[in-house]
């Protein structure tokens, strides 16, 4: 049963991944990315990582992919023009080389299948709020910086001038 679910999700994941890259309409690409993130989240459930799956679905599907769709709508992006032959060939060749290298590494280094170890780890909450407290706090600070940077980058020129005039008391 687990193998059947994996095969189904893997097919969806690979297909939506290919369509995200190949599709020329940016809106369709963002929707395929959402489907891809959703399938990866479901694969995380299959890997006994439910919290990670939930975070993936909330952050990537509900956040990133839909934000991409909103950006496409706001910018009113046209269909992407057809790629040049050299660009397609070089991208495809790089992809073949990387995929071949990964396959070779997986085949020779990993070898025969290994069974997963029994779960002996501490609960996720204890880890995040104990051993990983400092990285979590640093990540929160990084997210705050990203938020402020995003607000600053999206301000228009007029708003910047008004803000600087307000600071100088003019």
């Amino acid at each position: 049963m687990e193998i059947a679910i994996f095969v189904l999700l893997a097919c969806v994941c690979a297909l939506t991944g290919i369509l995200t890259v190949v599709c020329r309409k940016p809106m369709h690409s963002s929707l395929y990315l959402a489907a891809n993130s959703l399938s990866v989240g479901l694969l995380c459930i299959l890997l006994s990582a439910p919290f990670l799956a939930l975070a993936q679905i909330f952050v990537c599907v509900a956040g990133i992919a839909l934000l991409s769709a909103v950006v496409v709508v706001v910018l009113n992006l046209e269909d992407e023009p057809r790629k040049g032959t050299f660009r397609t060939l070089s991208g495809g060749a790089t992809g073949c080389i990387v995929l071949g290298a990964l396959g070779y590494f997986l085949w020779h280094w990993w070898g025969a299948s290994r069974e997963p170890a029994p779960d002996v780890g501490t609960p996720f909450g204890e880890l995040v709020f104990g051993e990983f407290l400092l990285p979590v706090e640093l990540t929160a600070f990084l997210l705050l910086v990203a938020l402020l940077g995003s607000v600053l980058l999206t301000r228009r020129e007029g708003e910047k001038r008004t803000a600087s005039a307000g600071r100088s008391g003019l």
Partner: protein
């Protein structure tokens, strides 16, 4: 179930993201291809977490997911700023920092 199918799938996703990053001309499309690479790395971390039976991998994957999401959001905002200044989101048109 063994680990290698998950690793193979994540390798395929990573390669697709890399190819997308190379061949997409649209800035938003390139950011979406980067999202595919993030999904691949997350799947990889989740698979190795299960293999080693230790929850630390899941915590690391969670932090990686958050940082990568912040990177993607900043990338999309940069695409918006780019479109405002250059009136295009085509990456081939960006040559201001070239020389």
């Amino acid at each position: 179930m063994p680990l290698w199918p998950y690793l193979a799938l994540s390798g395929l996703l990573f390669t697709l993201g890399l190819v997308g990053l190379l061949i997409r001309r649209n800035a938003v499309g390139a950011v979406m291809a980067f999202g595919l690479m993030i999904n691949a790395s997350l799947l990889n971390l989740a698979a190795f977490t299960r293999q080693h039976g230790d929850g630390r991998g899941e915590a690391v994957a969670f932090l990686v997911l958050l940082v990568a999401a912040a990177e993607m959001v900043v990338g999309l905002i940069l695409a918006i700023a780019l479109f405002r200044n250059q009136k295009t989101a085509d990456l081939d048109e960006l040559d201001r920092l070239k020389w």
